[in-house]
């Protein structure tokens, strides 16, 4: 059980996700999708229940877990006053990545030299999203948690995001995606959870087994 203030935002979430799976989390607004992702990231405390992510206990080892998580939330987590390149280089240093990895990630998401020198506050929403995705490639976390990752992206951007998700999944990265906008990614290890009223009410994995 997870509370946001006094509000019980997540009250019944039982799931077992395997490495390399791509999990679509669907549900109406306020269902608890974002809360579920933030819980898996180790950013929210669990009031009751048990949970393990990458063998880290969600009650006692949240700090240790976080370094292995890549979270793309509603907000991009970038510094608006810094340029794209400065943002990426700062976070790359924090993640222990080098300039070559930064250049590769920028190239993958079409963040060319001209965009690299633009302050983030002057970017479009889609360009900010691409910059955030570039940070996922730079960090190389074991789990990607994507909250409405397609918001603001054009068709080209969506294709790039899908392509990066599939590549990551093939390399063994587990991806959880909360989104209204898609029904399918195209991964062979795809699965859909439906969340409503703070509970997981449907799981395609269990449905198919049943």
């Amino acid at each position: 059980m997870v509370f946001l203030g006094q509000f019980p935002a997540l009250t019944g979430a039982t799931m077992n996700i395997r490495q390399g799976e791509v999990v679509l989390i669907k549900g109406p607004n306020g269902a608890g999708k974002s809360t579920l992702l933030r819980l898996c990231a180790g950013l929210l405390p669990m009031r009751s229940g048990i949970g393990t992510v990458l063998d880290f206990d969600l009650r006692t080892q949240r700090m240790e877990l976080r370094a292995h998580i890549g979270l793309l939330g509603h907000r991009t987590g970038l510094y608006p006053d810094l340029t794209v390149s400065e943002n990426l280089k700062f976070w790359a240093s924090a993640y222990g990545a080098n300039d070559i990895e930064v250049d590769k990630a920028m190239a993958f998401f079409g963040l060319n030299d001209r965009l690299g020198s633009v302050q983030v506050q002057n970017l479009s929403e889609g360009q900010r999203r691409r910059t955030s995705f570039a940070l996922l490639l730079i960090k190389r976390p074991s789990i990607w948690l994507l909250d409405e990752p397609y918001a603001g992206l054009d068709s080209n951007g969506r294709e790039l995001v899908n392509s990066s998700i599939l590549q990551a999944s093939e390399l063994g990265t587990t991806v959880l995606i909360a989104s209204h906008e898609i029904d399918k990614i195209g991964s062979t290890q795809e699965r859909t959870l439906f969340v409503k009223g703070g509970r997981i009410v449907s799981d395609s994995d269990q449905d198919s087994e049943g």
């Binding site: 907000r75 987590g77 810094l82 222990g96 940070l135």
Partner: protein, 222 residues
């Protein structure tokens, strides 16, 4: 720890360099405060010289509130704090890095404020080492407690109004000590400024240690 802390400091200073909020907005505000104090206390230079040390530290505290709010805003406006927490950088390193960044910005503002005060109020310093050391130590007390209280006020969602209410009483002992030390350094009060500096040092060390130990728990709850 220090590598990560320095990374955070460099990032904060780079953000300041890009946004120029310190130079274009906070610094003019600092000077305005001092000039207004001058008008309020009339053109009696003896009164201004006597009250100068106190005015300096009150002005510093007022601008420190703006700098602290800005320092917190940098991390919270687009949820960069979440990314920091997921980066593997320890909360202690984040705290130390942000404290050093705030410290360096406040030192620049204080140097500006000091220069204007000495010229405007026609003051002369009799003990420069005491001025420098007490400014260095008091600024550490302000920046270490400010970094901590900025996050506390931010978590309560009413940062603009709550920060001064929480922060100013905590800094009251430091302001008293710093004013006494500066008064002695300017030859305006009959006090042992170096003894007050001892008190300031204890305050700065305690605030910094408390910040290092508690910052992690506080950002968890915000």
């Amino acid at each position: 720890m220090f590598r990560d802390a320095w990374l955070v400091t460099k990032k904060d200073l780079l953000i300041e360099l890009r946004s120029r909020i310190l130079i274009n907005q906070i610094a003019p505000y600092t000077l305005l405060i001092l000039v207004l104090f001058g008008f309020a206390l009339d053109a009696d230079t003896e009164t201004l010289r006597d009250t100068g040390p106190g005015l300096f530290w009150v002005s510093t505290l007022l601008v420190a509130i703006l700098a602290i709010q800005r320092s917190v805003d940098v991390e919270t406006s687009d949820s960069a704090i979440d990314r920091l927490m997921l980066s593997g950088i320890s909360p202690t390193s984040i705290y130390v890095g942000k404290t050093i960044g705030l410290y360096l910005q406040l030192i620049v503002l204080e140097a500006l404020l000091f220069t204007v005060m000495v010229v405007l109020f026609d003051m002369s310093v009799v003990d420069y080492p005491l001025v420098i050391v007490s400014a260095v130590v008091t600024t550490l007390a302000i920046s270490s407690s400010g970094t901590l209280y900025g996050v506390i006020a931010s978590g309560l969602g009413v940062r603009e109004t709550l920060l001064p209410v929480l922060f100013l009483p905590v800094l009251a002992p430091a302001v008293i000590g710093a004013t006494r030390a500066f008064g002695d350094a300017f030859g305006r009060v009959n006090a042992d400024g170096w003894a007050w500096l001892g008190l300031l040092s204890v305050i700065a060390i305690v605030y910094t240690l408390v910040g290092m130990l508690t910052y992690g728990n506080i950002i968890e709850d915000t």
